[in-house]
Every structure is written in structure tokens, then in C-alpha cells.
Symmetry: C2
Subunit: 434 residues, 2 copies
């Protein structure tokens, strides 16, 4: 028997605001950061589980504090038992009534639970000797259903319906796994489109995106309409007709403004509008979707939990669902969201970029293809070429596609040197072992 002996945390911050990488209409100067967690055990295998919450700078210490608050739940636990029933482990963390009060199921505390859940999955995959996507995709349909908490979901999807989706997809898993290994998973790039870049850099990066084999780029919009029209026109000229160009307002608008703004951009053929307004505003998204049809509305990177996603699907507030690896309570909750998307027939195109989000989320899309939705049609994973060099198993993105990771684990482990170099406060905080 082995036990979890400590949660070791680090406040890792990269000074990205110096280059205006990642600048958008709501986030002018992000410092891409990770509230980073290592779960240590006393097992002879020496394996650790790594996870993190992506933040954009200030407050990363608050997130680290929230992760440390989970020590009481995890330190001292039997590793095998904890990993054997991840559904029960998830509920144990999310249902803690005192911690739940701090959300409930949203914000700093919920994301901290996500980091812990993801770190446990990293450990479980390393122990199984499989990359996470493959570990998940080889679970039985019932085992996958057992990962999901159906509380608050049953009016949209019952466990029996989830099981049916998974059993339908169970046929053909092996073929799809081979297909995935052979052709990879589609990606798209946001690198050309940050608001802080000038027109020449935009045009150059558009050309590079095409040369790199991507079929879609994304531009940040929402600060100034004339600028957006000019940038959209430049991108359309460089990319040519038919090439997919999505735009992303990062929550900048109210309903009326969103509809006006998108009407002005519509002539340039928009692949989707992302985050037109508050990520809490299901009804506003639905009103915008009706007002700008047939332009699809995409959202999700700031959607707090599965209950809000459920309503977005019920109200047709989105037609492209963007999961995020570190916003909700980890792999289990994202499995629930993938199942909801499959139930409603909506494609999932994950949010990525930041620190390690590409690394983390690729596993979920690949699992979705092999074992849930069974298709890559209309699906693609966001890609930003930033900060991958700090990871032990960085994404392999080439020819416009993500290539399946084969290293055991969840690809969420940062290099020790990077953690040391970019730790914000000098001392790594370490929770006391029981």
C-alpha cells in the first residue's frame, strides 16, 4: 500500500505582458501563470501526479492557497484506492460542504479541485503506463459513466443516456485509435490574432499559419470596430476566400453591441464569434446567436461548470462548445461536458494556449474522438505556440494537426528548471505531511 504524502505547490509566472502575447479586448497585459501542484506519494515507483490552474498573473498566489487547502483531503490517502474510483474521489472533493460554500462549484476553489483531480489523473495514467487519452478511451462505457456526477444534469442527460452514447461509440474504438495515430487531430491557431500586434505582424503570421498547414485562424476583436474591420480585411486578403477565420471578443459586449459589431464583420465571412458577452449569460448568448445567425456562437473557456454548459446547450446559447482543461473540476467534469455535447450533437473545440492548456486538453479531444463523439468533423483544438518548451512532454503540433502524445501521463508536467526559474515567490510552499 502507498499513501499520498504531500501536495507541493509552486506559484509559476511568466512575464508575457512584456511582449503583448495574449493581449485581447478584456485582458490587455496578461502574465501567463500556473498555480502548480505536484502530488507526492511514498510509493517505490517514484511517480508524481502533476496538475495546475492557468491564470494570467495577479491572484496566482490565491489559487495556490486554494490548492493547498485540499491537503487535508488528500494527504494520507491510500493511492490505489483514491485512483481506483475517481468518481468517488471527485465527489469527495467537490461535495466538501465547507469548501463548496466558496463557489459553489465555481471560481478559485473549484479550479483548485480541478488541479488536484487532473494531477491524480496524471498519476493514474503514469502508473498505467498510458497517455491519459488512451487510458480514458480504454475504460468501459460503464466505467466512464461512473466518473460522472449526474447531480443537476438529469433533466438533460440521464446515466442511461450517457451509457447509450458510450456504447454506440464503443464499436469502432480500435479503428479510430489507429486513425488518430495515423492522421492526428485538427488544430487551429490564434497566434496571428492578438490585439497588441500591428498589421504587418498580423499579415505575416496569417501567412505563416497557412504555411504551417492550419485550416483556421482566430482574431481577437472587440476593442475598436474600425480596427477590427481593417484587421479582418487584411486577414481575409492574406488567407483568401473560404479559409476559416474565427473571431473572439473575450466577453466585451452586451447583446445589442454584439449583434451590431458582428453584422459589420459578417461580410468578411466569420467562422465563429467566441465569447461575445459574459460567460454567465446563457440567455444573452442565445439572443446573440439568434441575432447573428448563421454565424455560430462559441464559448466555454470561462464557463464555470457542467451545470452552466448544460443550460447553454438547452437554450442554444452556443453551437461550438469550448472546454477548458483547468476552469472546471478537472477530467471528470470535462468528461461530463463531452457527454452533454455528444447528447446535444454539438462539436467540442477546446480552448487552449496559456500555460500547458494545449498539453492538457488534447487528451480530452482525443478521448472524445475515440470513445464519445466518434468524430473529428467540425472539431479542432486551439493552438498557440507559446511556452511549450517548459513542459516535459510538449505537444507535437505540425501540418496543422495535434499528434497524439504517447508518453504515459497527462502531459501536465513542467520541467523542474522552468518551475525553479519562474517561481514568483522564492520559496516553494509545501504542505505538511500527515
Amino acid at each position: 500500500m502507498s499513501r499520498i504524502i504531500a501536495l507541493a505547490t509552486s506559484d509559476v509566472r511568466f512575464p508575457t505582458s512584456l511582449e503583448l502575447d495574449g493581449s485581447d479586448a478584456m485582458n490587455p497585459d496578461p502574465d501567463y501563470s500556473a498555480a502548480y501542484l505536484r502530488i507526492l506519494t511514498d510509493s517505490d515507483d517514484g511517480l508524481e501526479g502533476h496538475g495546475f490552474v492557468f491564470t494570467i498573473g495577479r491572484g496566482n498566489d490565491v489559487e495556490v492557497g486554494a490548492i493547498e487547502a485540499l491537503s487535508d483531503h488528500l494527504v494520507g490517502r491510500d493511492v490505489e484506492e483514491t485512483l481506483a474510483d475517481m468518481g468517488a474521489t471527485w465527489r469527495d472533493l467537490v461535495y466538501d460542504s465547507q469548501l463548496r460554500w466558496l463557489g459553489p462549484e465555481k471560481g478559485v476553489m473549484h479550479m483548485a479541485i480541478g488541479a488536484a483531480v487532473n494531477a491524480l489523473w496524471d498519476l493514474k495514467a503514469k502508473r498505467a503506463g498510458l497517455p491519459l487519452w488512451q487510458l480514458l478511451a480504454r475504460l468501459s462505457p460503464q466505467q466512464i459513466v461512473d466518473l460522472v456526477d449526474f447531480r443537476y444534469l438529469s433533466d438533460a442527460m440521464t446515466p442511461a443516456e450517457a451509457l447509450e452514447i458510450l456504447e454506440r461509440a464503443a464499436r469502432g474504438r480500435a479503428e479510430r485509435e489507429q486513425e488518430l495515430l495515423a492522421v492526428g487531430y485538427p488544430g487551429y491557431t490564434t497566434s496571428p490574432g492578438w490585439l497588441g500586434y500591428d498589421d504587418e505582424k498580423l499579415a505575416r503570421l496569417c501567412r505563416e499559419a497557412i504555411a504551417d498547414g492550419f485550416d483556421q485562424i482566430k482574431l481577437k476583436v472587440g476593442a475598436d470596430l474600425d480596427d477590427d474591420i481593417r484587421r479582418m480585411r487584411i486577414a481575409r486578403e492574406v488567407c483568401g476566400p473560404g479559409f476559416r477565420i474565427a473571431v473572439d471578443a473575450n466577453q466585451r459586449w452586451d447583446v445589442d453591441v454584439a449583434i451590431e459589431w458582428m453584422s459589420a464583420l459578417a461580410p468578411y465571412d466569420v467562422a465563429w464569434i467566441e465569447e461575445p458577452t459574459s460567460p454567465d449569460d446563457i440567455l444573452a448568448h442565445a439572443a446573440i446567436a439568434r441575432g447573428i445567425a448563421p454565424i455560430p456562437v462559441a464559448t466555454g473557456e470561462h464557463v464555470a461548470n457542467r451545470v452552466v454548459f448544460k443550460q447553454f446547450l438547452q437554450a442554444r446559447g452556443l453551437s461550438i462548445l469550448q472546454i477548458d482543461a483547468t476552469r472546471v473540476a478537472g477530467v471528470n467534469e470535462n468528461v461530463a461536458i463531452l457527454l452533454l455535447a455528444a447528447k446535444f450533437g454539438v462539436p467540442v473545440c477546446p480552448h487552449a494556449g496559456g500555460v500547458g492548456l494545449c498539453e492538457a486538453v488534447q487528451h480530452l479531444s482525443m478521448f472524445d474522438f475515440v470513445a464519445v463523439s466518434g468524430t473529428m468533423d467540425g472539431r479542432m483544438i486551439e493552438y498557440v505556440d507559446h511556452l511549450h518548451e517548459h513542459f516535459v512532454d510538449p505537444v507535437d503540433v505540425h501540418s496543422g494537426r495535434y499528434w497524439p502524445p504517447l508518453t504515459p501521463g497527462a502531459s501536465t508536467q513542467m520541467l523542474d528548471e522552468s518551475i525553479a526559474e519562474f517561481t514568483y515567490s522564492a520559496q516553494e510552499r509545501r504542505s505538511v505531511a500527515l
Copy 2:
């Protein structure tokens, strides 16, 4: 000129779980706590602004950390300038893009901003020599509108519509202030209804509630249907026909279960069902409201922000709106919510209890009566007779009513001795002054 020189925080926890006070279907063993904040200035007046976030125990330290993360924004600021334009101050805190990422506008970070905003209002009211309700109720309609951030609200309420509501209520303010001072504001009590109490204690506390002059009590439900039917029957027998008995499920149910459960309790004449399901689930509340009509649905104590409240009103997911003093970003956001409720014609019955919530929220209801909705019809403030002795200016509740506080400030200041006695970690943490 004076400056803010420090945020002094305390992790205050009362061991209430020992008595099962506050036990409900989702929160079996709360330790009522406050992440407590004092804003210190270098002004000669020696006045401090006090605020807090109510939590139920574990994680209170995380909330304290989030409050401390606001030091950079507040320490060093000009006090007069900061208090003169509280709308701008609110936006400065809520719009910090890096901190906003941690919500956005929900959970630990948003509540921390609420504590800071409330502490600033406490300071502003003390400096003005007025209780907060009176300070707010004496602002001009335009000054009140200027406190509110209308981003994400304009599809439901424009600044012009808010101004119209306030101008309509401006007539008769003086008379209503006199009425309030003469007759108080209605309260109701939850003291009889905690799940952890036995039947005899329930019956005794029901009798006491009536003797104390309350017109409504509330019972916690949702753990076991047979128990709930028995407890509801006892309460109805003791209180007699016509007496208002509300029930509160504390988020325990899914849609179908909520409708079934309430159908079983309906014969006992239910005044409202509170928090039947997830506080994020606007559409489920609306479905439940349709399914159990005419029993009203009440919610709000865990509703994350004004955007979610707006949708609850738009979708008719609630017909009784329960603001909470420390869940959203403080007084300003609650003013926005009061205006939304007035726009939709929905009564506001605040959540209270916990630590200092009765003290804090009475000011908002009294302001609402004098300057916003202009009525007490169908309105009442929750009352729980716990922990008031720890406050400098505790609520005066008698004859079933809240009597207006007259001491300058927001009534959010705890006694120094209580803070010292119940501080959880020995050392009070103090942010470094600039």
C-alpha cells in the same frame, strides 16, 4: 488628504458545528466563519472600514488570502477620492483583468472584492455620520445609478430605466423613512428549522417564533421526504392554518425530484421553496417553478452575480429574490440587483443568518424600501438568532421586525475581543503598508 495604509485581515471561525446550528441538507456541519477585513487609514478621524465574507469553515483562509490580494489596489489610495466615486472604485476592483480571470465575477475572488467594497461603504457611512441605509437612501437618483455597472445588464435594464425607477421612488422618501423608523422592517425566522434539531425542539421553537411576533418561519428540507413531511406537519399544527411556513432545500434536488418532493409538501401550505436545485441552474428553476405553481420559488444566497440574477428574472426562475450581503461584489452590485428586482416587480427577501449577515443586509432592504421599490409588501429579511453578540452594533430585532440601525456605518464591525478570541490561526495577518 488621507490615505489607506493597510488591509488588516483575520480568519475568524466559530465552532457552530458542535451544536448543529445551521445544519441543512447540503451543509451538515458548518463552522460559521468570517474572512474579516479592516481598512486602516492615516486620517486623524481614526475611523476604520470593516467588512467580511461569510463562509462555513474550511477555506476561510483561502478567502482571507483573496482579500489580501487586493492590497495592491487599495493601499496607498487617497481615501476621499476612493469614497467619493464608489462606482469607479468598484470598477477598478472588478475590472482588474488578472484577478477577474479567477472568476470571472464569481467565487472566492469576487466575494473578496465584495468584502473590500463593503468595508469602504462602512468607512464612508461612518465618515458621513450616518447608518449605511440612510446614506444610500439620501443619494440622488443619478448618484445611485452611478454606483451601478450596467455591463451585461442593458438587455434587461438601461441606466435610463434605472433612473426612472429611482426618480419615481424619490417622491415619498421622507415619509417612508419616518414609517421605517416608526414600524421597522418585517423579519422572519429560520431558527426553528435546522435539520439537526429533534421534533420537540422544532415545536418549541415554532411556538417561540410566534410568541416573538414573527409572521413566517422556515424549515430546512431535502434530506429525507418522510422526515420532512413529519416536520412540516408538526410545524403546521403548532403554527396553525394561514401562518407562513417556507421551506429550504439548499440545492439538494434535480428538477423531477424537486417537483415530486414539493408536491408531497404542498398540502401543508408552503410559503416558498428556497434553493430547490443548483444556484447556477436558471432553466431548472424555471422548470421547477412551472411544475409546482403556485408555490413560489426563492433563490439567491449562492447566486454568483448580477448577470445570473438578471437571467433568473428574465426566465422567471424565481419569484422571490434573495440577495446576500457577502456573495456578490458588495453594496454596489446589490444596488444593481435591487434595481433589477424593482424593474421586474419581484420582491427581495434577503438571505441572512451566518455571521453578521443580518447586520449587513438590513441596510440594503431598508434602502430598498425608502429609495428603490418603495414598499415592504411581500418583503421580509431572514433572521437567525446567532452570533449577534460579537458585533459592535448588533441588529435590533423584536416584535418580529428589524428596527433601523442608527449608528453610523454598515453594522459590519465585530468586537475586537470576539475577533481575538475566535481567530483561527494565532497570528493576524497584516498586509504591508506602502
